[in-house]
């Protein structure tokens, strides 16, 4: 590969003033994110990975928003210093993203079409949010066109589609309960393209980066499970890798938010943690590059955001039934402090009676002694 080719990631980074150290650091993070399951990271060293990635032309990414909260985009942008968000945006060529671009209106529409035409058949389409189907898809319009229509058009020229977040994966929070808009995920509509679901509310941005780079570098999409989730990030059960697992095994459970067990970082299972049912890399790859920044790390039970059968369906504080993991959930929970000692109301009543009688007798006695009567005069000496 010619070093003069400005389309390669390495050259683009150099031109953008990104140091090699930061790039290698990003590659290390990538190896930590996907230690197994990717052809990309099955290299012997970070150096080899950096070389492979560096020589790859920047993959073109077109990012569309549907019914969602933009949380997935926010997660990408809120990665902390060194600003990994910017680094990622230098590694991939984000050719269209409604939140990040300056353009608006017709100009924006033109940009979308220009990007699609320029990279037709090669770009990765990232879809964020669910697509409403009810009432002819009339609940979502983009540039006076139905969301369904926009998705189909963008998908037709895409090499692969990444459905980012739980909404794009199966409909997410909009599809829960009554599903008023008939919200569905991308894979319910597009059947003729490779689709990778990255559920999570939000998913970790490194997972997206790894998927896009795997496609750009190796020319293929990673191995997926039956729900089209890449195995490298979704094969592990949160519970099995949870930092609080030792507390589960030892039978130490937080009983209520803010109790002593909760403050000491005990297992959140009883508070409704869905960790045992949930597949994801959260337990090992925390958010914002800050250790412990993920729900369980800050003392909030996992809500199972990567699982269609769990997230937005099971009540947040409902304790899950365990069937498939070797650890047995307790039927009863050892309280943080086993109350010892019984206070009987009869005893307190009796004590009150006796105490009251004594005090009353004492007061009466001192009063009578104060005013001696009749033959009861105290003998004065």
């Amino acid at each position: 590969m010619a070093h003069s080719d400005s389309r390669t990631i390495e050259n683009h980074l150099r031109m953008s003033g990104v140091s090699r150290r930061d790039f290698v650091r990003l590659c290390s993070a990538l190896m930590v994110t996907a230690p197994a399951g990717l052809a990309l990271t099955s290299t012997n060293s970070v150096d080899e990975l950096a070389k492979a990635v560096g020589h790859t032309p920047r993959p073109s990414v077109i990012w569309l928003h549907f019914q969602e909260c933009t949380g997935c985009t926010e997660t990408l942008l809120r990665t902390s210093a060194p600003d990994v968000g910017h680094l990622i945006l230098d590694v991939i060529s984000l050719d269209y993203h409604e939140t990040l671009m300056a353009a608006a209106g017709d100009q924006a529409e033109q940009a979308l079409h220009a990007a699609m035409q320029k990279n037709s058949g090669r770009y990765v389409l990232v879809a964020e949010g669910s697509i409403p189907l009810k009432d002819n898809g009339g609940y979502l319009e983009l540039g006076r066109r139905r969301g369904l229509e926009v998705l189909k058009e963008a998908a037709s020229g895409a090499a692969a589609i990444v459905a980012i977040g739980s909404c794009a994966s199966w409909g997410g929070v909009q599809s829960s309960g009554e599903n008023p808009t008939g919200a569905v995920g991308v894979d319910s509509i597009i059947k003729d393209k490779p689709i990778i679901n990255l559920p999570g509310c939000p998913p970790n941005p490194y997972t997206l980066l790894a998927v896009v780079l795997e496609y750009a570098t190796m020319g293929r999409i990673p191995a997926l499970d039956s729900l089209k989730r890449p195995l490298f990030a979704y094969s592990r059960v949160i519970h099995d890798n949870c930092p609080r697992r030792a507390h589960f095994d030892a039978g130490r459970f937080a009983q209520a938010f803010g109790d002593d067990g909760h403050r000491q970082g005990w297992c959140l299972f009883k508070l409704g943690c869905k960790g045992p049912l949930t597949h994801g890399a959260c337990a090992t790859r925390h958010f914002n590059e800050v250790p412990d920044v993920w729900p369980i790390g800050i003392g909030a039970p996992c809500v199972g955001c990567t699982e269609k059968a769990v997230a937005f369906t099971m009540p947040v504080f409902q304790t899950v039934d365990l069937h498939s993991i070797p650890a047995t959930a307790p039927d009863t929970y050892a309280p943080i402090y086993t109350p010892q000692g019984h206070i009987s109301s009869a005893a307190t009543g009796l004590a009150g009676l006796i105490g009251g009688a004594l005090v009353g007798a004492g007061i009466m006695a001192s009063r009578r002694l104060r005013t001696p009567e009749g033959g009861e005069k105290p003998g004065e000496e």
Binding site: Y337, P339, G341, H342, A346, A347, I363, R370, G379
Partner: protein, 409 residues
């Protein structure tokens, strides 16, 4: 010893209605004690592994022996400070001491897990742990109970000398001189023992370390226990004298009690000064005092109850008012008892999971033991030469003994 100081049996009917009521309570207590030995501590008490010491220790032993310190406190005044004018108070005070300590010993026997081994404690001296505070307390209480009865024995022997039974008469005449000769030794011993164990009752809880709340946790705990038990001893003597004069129609030895109350107030002042200075010196406690949680409120109540008598007894005028004297002594006993309850049951915090409040059985047993103690006191002063002073006037005696005890007017 002039004629007025000569102790005489009060005489009169023993089986009066109040006596029978007290005996009934004691009998109920005896039945429950029996049940405690059959069913065990777990079934009959609210004690647990966090609070192995409950009402029986906090009241019967720790508070009970402090209330029974009359004999010790008066003996200190009469024999050590040579204030002979208080001599007439010695015998009645000794009766409360002997009875109080006997009750304490009985309570320990009920309270310990394996009472059938208690007899080994004084005998198996080669197994003694010489650094054990508990052993010291156990030995002192056992010995002092014995000593108190021996100190009191002349009263029984004097009565025996006039017995109608010739055998009792000759025995009493033979033994009494020997006892009188040995009495100084027992009196000295009787002064040493309570000094040792009353302070050790404080040391016991000091050993519980950080489990004792900071408001009570001071190395001065033994001294505070000793001072407060002295004051409580005098308070008990004032109450007991006032009540016996009231209920038995005897003249009240007001001047003596009023002088005694001055001693009591001084000791109490020293106690309070040390207690408050201690709270200030370890100044982190000042903050604890104003936290107004259970501990700080209990401390305030305790301090108020113990400051009350000092105010009530501040002038000689007030000290001569029998009602005032009685009230001050009551407040003192309440405050002293609360101090002991606080240290043993409130300040002692074995862990957040533990709670304790005495069970009905425990309360009834303690109530019955106290009732039995009062009944025994009444019987003893009626049968034996304990109380001294002028004979009561005939109408007053008739009023008291013939009709009601509670409404003698």
């Amino acid at each position: 010893m002039n004629a007025q100081e000569q102790a005489r049996p009060v005489g009169g009917r023993i089986l009066t209605p109040p006596f029978l009521a007290l005996t009934a309570l004691a009998a109920l207590s005896a039945v429950l004690i029996l049940w405690r030995f059959v069913a065990g501590l777990g079934a009959s008490t609210a004690l647990n592994d966090g609070y192995p010491w409950g009402l029986w220790i906090a009241f019967d032993v720790v508070t009970g022996t402090a209330l029974a310190c009359g004999g010790y406190a008066v003996a200190l005044l009469v024999y050590v400070l040579n204030r002979g004018r208080y001599h007439t108070l010695v015998r009645p005070a000794l009766v409360t001491s002997a009875l109080g300590y006997s009750i304490a010993g009985l309570s320990v026997a009920i309270d310990v897990g394996r009472p059938w081994l208690i007899w080994k404690v004084p005998l198996f001296f080669w197994h003694w742990n010489h650094r054990s505070v508990l052993l010291e307390v156990a030995m002192c209480i056992m010995l002092y109970t014995l000593v108190a009865w021996i100190e009191l024995s002349p009263a029984f022997l004097e009565r025996g000398e006039t017995s109608s039974n010739p055998k009792v008469r000759s025995f009493s005449r033979k033994v009494l001189p020997a006892v009188r000769r040995g009495l100084p030794f027992f009196i000295a011993f009787g002064l040493l023992l309570p000094t040792m164990h009353q302070s050790s009752l404080g040391s016991l809880l000091l050993l519980s370390g950080p489990r004792l709340n900071a408001l009570w946790n001071t190395p001065l705990l033994p001294l505070l226990f000793l001072l407060s038990c002295l004051a409580m001893g005098y308070g008990a003597v004032i109450i007991e004298s006032t009540l016996s004069s009231r209920f038995l129609g005897r003249p009240l030895e007001l001047m003596m009690l009023s002088r005694l109350s001055r001693v009591m107030a001084w000791i109490l002042s020293v106690y309070l000064a040390i207690r408050i200075c201690d709270l200030f010196v370890r100044n982190s406690l000042l903050a604890a005092l104003f936290r107004f949680d259970l501990f700080s409120i209990m401390t305030w109540v305790e301090l108020a109850l113990l400051a009350g008598p000092i105010v009530l007894l501040a002038s000689s005028e007030r000290r001569r008012d029998p009602g005032n004297l009685f009230l001050a002594a009551m407040l003192l006993l309440l405050g002293g008892a609360l101090y002991r309850f606080d240290v043993y049951l409130v300040a002692f915090q074995p862990g957040p999971q533990w709670s304790y409040f005495p069970s009905v059985t425990e309360i009834l047993i303690t109530t019955g033991l106290v009732a039995g103690e009062i009944a025994a006191y009444i019987a003893l002063i009626k049968l034996f030469p304990i109380l001294s002073g002028r004979k009561p006037t005939a109408p007053a005696r008739a009023a008291v003994l013939g009709r009601s005890y509670m409404t003698a007017d």
